[in-house]
């Protein structure tokens, strides 16, 4: 009997990793009921992980065009970033910023890179949403657009910080790997090590598009009497 022994971590995962649209008190209640009737903790964990995976598979399936667009939009980003940072104006900008005392010099460089990435995400999200709105005859609200812009930059910040942490923890250093003299546009697309640079763009574009185009609600049908 496992009465009252619901694993907190699994329950937390169920509560926080299942998207809000599909989160219902029925599933956690059912799992708890089965656990109290004698199912094992292993069974509970399996059910929770399956529920999380299934719910995210549904989200990806429902939003497959958005996911596909976000992935494709992120593909040329490392190449554009590479050419932008190789340009003369960037060197001029850097020569100005390094005159600032630390941390302002680093902050101004980071801000510029973040702004460039945000502009890239915003233009991609706007292109997708305007095309979608035109094809699906949907109207866009200014409030939705503003919210999407804010969400995009917040997600971008978080994802950039997350990928920077992964790079530092796993020694997945790009600087030591990429030779700027021989680096080509094709390499920037095919190089698997540049995938991490695309992750913040993918996540940010996804959240921005979802903020601009929230899901429609469905009506309930009449039961058999």
């Amino acid at each position: 009997m496992n009465r009252g022994k619901s694993p907190r971590v699994a329950s937390w995962l169920l509560e926080h990793l299942v998207p809000q649209s599909q989160r219902d008190q029925a599933l956690p209640g059912d799992l708890l009921e089965e656990l109290n009737r004698g199912r094992t903790l292993g069974w509970y964990w399996c059910q929770v992980l399956a529920a999380v995976l299934i719910s995210w598979a549904i989200v990806v399936h429902k939003q497959k065009m958005t996911f596909l667009f976000a992935i494709l939009w992120s593909v040329p980003f490392p190449m554009l970033l590479f050419y932008a940072t190789s340009a003369k104006w960037f060197d001029v900008f850097l020569s100005h910023t390094i005159r600032f005392p630390w941390p302002y010099s680093a902050l101004s460089e980071l801000t510029l890179e973040l702004l460039a990435a945000s502009l890239y995400v915003w233009s991609g999200a706007a292109l997708y949403v305007v095309t979608y709105a035109y094809l699906a005859s949907r109207t866009l609200t200014l409030r939705g657009l503003c919210r999407a812009f804010v969400i995009a930059i917040l997600v971008l910040l978080g994802a950039c910080f997350g990928t920077a942490e992964i790079v530092s923890l796993t020694n997945f250093s790009l600087a030591t790997y990429i030779d700027r003299r021989t680096f080509t546009a094709m390499q920037s697309i095919t190089n698997p090590r540049l995938f991490l640079e695309r992750v913040p763009i993918i996540l940010s574009a996804l959240f921005a598009i979802r903020a601009m185009l929230p899901d429609a609600k469905n009506g309930a049908p009449r039961p058999v009497s």
Binding site: S6, Q22, D24, Q25, A26, L27, P28, G29, D30, L31, L32, E33, E34, N36, W43, C46, Q47, A50, A51, V52, L53, I54, S55, I58, N218, A220, P221, R222, P223, V224
Partner: protein, 111 residues
């Protein structure tokens, strides 16, 4: 795009379980019923995903029951088949029954 109305394998099992259980059709008995007939464990998440699809297609409807202490104060979601759902199950049964008749016995020569 129009939502398809025919059933997937799990959806058919789920709606048949909902019909069989009547007023007591919620997640736990539905998944137990499927496990009993299928002979292997079924993820409650996939049962709920199938129920959600069925509800979206108008085949079943649902309502929340009262919260109970043995479920950590969480309510049960009860499901009922709709008229459209029942009609679709009947149509599926007719179509499948016709096709099952052509199934050869094991070892029988196929024409």
């Amino acid at each position: 795009m129009e939502e398809r109305s025919y059933f997937g394998e799990l959806e058919l099992m789920v709606i048949l379980a909902v019909i069989g259980l009547g007023d007591d059709a919620y997640g736990v008995p539905i998944s137990r019923e499927i496990e009993k007939h299928r002979g292997r464990m079924v993820a409650l998440g996939s049962v709920y995903a199938a129920l959600e699809r069925l509800e979206k297609k108008g085949m079943v409807s649902s309502h929340l029951g009262d919260p109970t202490p043995e479920r950590g104060g969480k309510a049960k979601r009860y499901f009922r088949v709709t008229e459209a759902g029942l009609r679709e199950v009947q149509k599926t049964r007719q179509a499948l029954s016709k096709m099952w008749r052509r199934l050869p016995a094991l070892g029988e020569k196929r024409v």
